[in-house]
Amino acid sequence: MNHADLADHFNKDEPRVDWHDKTLWYIREKRDKAAWQTPDWELLRSTASQIKNNVLSNLHPYLLQFEKKAQQNGVTVHWASTPEEHNQIVYSIIQKHGVANIVKSKSMLTEECHLNAYLSNRGIDVVDTDLGERIVQLAGEPPSHIVLPCIHWRKEEIGELFHKHLGTPKGNADPQFLTAAAREHLRQRFMTSKVAITGVNFGVAETGEIVVCTNEGNADLGVQLADVHIACMGIEKIIPQRKHLGVFLRLLARSATGQPITTYSSHFRKPRDGQDMHIVLVDNGRSERLASDDFRNALKCIRCGACFNTCPVYRRSGGHSYHTAVAGPIGSILAPGLDMKQHADLPFASTLCGSCTNVCPVKIDIHDQLFKWRQVIVQKGYTSTSKKVGMKLMTFVLSNPSVYKIAGATARWFRKYFPVVVNNRFNLWYKQREMPLAPKGSFSDWYKQNRKA
């Protein structure tokens, strides 16, 4: 199933699409308000972008410095080239401690690596502790948004889900009540889990510390009650110095949800007394992408989700239509780098309106990259046959003026006398649209006449 088919599926429930669209736009508006209230907002964005450029151009020394500092802090540092290797490392740490139940706070990297499935196949019970992630986990789904994992769920459905899994009263869909029920259910897990996995928002090369941001406090509660802390991060999450956190933390939550900062921004430098702390650095194609002038910039992403909330396609097609761990515009430029064939449809899931680029806090040229990916994908032959034939035909017509004239006249004649040639279900532009009436003549006829007069 490609993006268009999956979007079709999501679009069957029109009221839900309208609600999804509106809810995400509301978050985009909150982001705007927060941005406008922050002095130097544009200066912050360009500064953040420059810092990230510096990181990408010095990633080798920064990674070495980060590793050395982290080791000095008493942290074990691991390196993984592939998702499989990352999963093996995490599993071996869990195994070493002889644990079967673990808690995990939000980490898009572990989604990218499909860690949950890997661990559960080996008898490890992983509980996602972010409320939104727990909801989709109970439902057996992946998150549909990197910041708001269950943004596609209605509260009545969550009430039903909790009734089934947590034994809450049937029919109760009050968010306050359901959150309290989840709090109680997850407290038990926090109190009994000896291993906690977290993601990483920023890794500071200068100090070897990692910063994890949450609103719920689930990362902190998990880590502080566990004997083992495993932090999983992509190698691009490094920033040079602690003072650069000031720039990124000012941008992150404002861009994500319009909050001035997340409730908790925790700086883990050394493990607590007696705790075993690990950092797993994951590559999975990032080091290769670093070579590409066209696509390198996508590695600057800080995973705020602003491009999702503003995207007219994402808002109306839902996160699952992107069939990848990171959906939305940023996901559509990241995924083809990992597997171009499987994700050849994603760069086309955009209107190229450029709104994603306008809101990106680190100024990634998202819509330009979407356009560039389309060119690469067509060149490599990964587009569908109908698109290929159509494009070839178009090239032929547009590059031959006489053919173009005849084609125009023919099309106008057919549109006038046999509209069904265009107005049929095989024409995707006809879906949910009326086609315009065909003009009487071509522009060049009109021009000739009016020049004469």
């Binding site: 002095p39 130097d40 360009s46 500064t47 420059q50 810092i51 450029n53 510096n54 990408l56 151009s57 990633l59 080798h60 990674l63 390196w79 290797e85 972010d130 409320l131 994992p149 943004i151 769920w153 209605r154 509260k155 968010p175 306050q176 359901l178 959150t179 997850l186 926090f190 609103n215 719920e216 406090g217 689930n218 902190d220 509660l221 502080q224 009650l225 040079p240 602690r242 003072k243 000031g246 720039v247 933390l249 000012r250 949800t257 909050q259 001035p260 900062i261 997340t262 409730t263 908790y264 921004s265 700086h267 430098r269 050394k270 607590r272 590559d283 080091s287 290769e288 670093l290 002038d293």
Partner: protein, 194 residues
Amino acid sequence: MSSREKILATVQANQPNDSPLPELHFSVGEDNHVDRFKTVLSGIGGNVVEVADRNQIHEFIKLNFSESKRIVNTIPDLAAVSGIHAFENDPHRLEDVDLAILQGHFGVAENGAIWITEDRMGDRALPFITQHLALVIDKKEIVPNLHEAYFRLDTSAHQFGTFIAGPSKTADIEQSLVLGAHGPKSLLVFLIGQ
């Protein structure tokens, strides 16, 4: 070749030419930082209480938390509230704490956050496991923005430190804001000074 060597070699081969780090120069604003701190913190669900001295904190807690079964205090000046707690490096024993009272280092006006480090927490788990959290800071210790905050943290040797901005919260169910997701259900901030 190990994965570490492979990754580092590929990164070294592929990283582009050096792009210099930018200077960090940002405006501080002419706001009254204390007022701004109070407004922003209230806006994100924190309760701000201004007090002249520590005695007033004592009185406030006696009055408002008389029903609390377990109060844990780590501030020597407030020993009269509940004594100084002895920690045993077993965070699980803190499960039934109703209120924790901790001394923060400083507040940040632009986002209502308070910086606190491990040495002020008693146990790293305490600020997160307690049902309600009270942080104490001096009015003089409010910086305008995060850049100033990190300027202060430049040489900080903290092992674990966190910015806390308001109570634990979630809006994962239909964007309805609920306070008390996993951590404290409320945050009380005592601002000391004139």
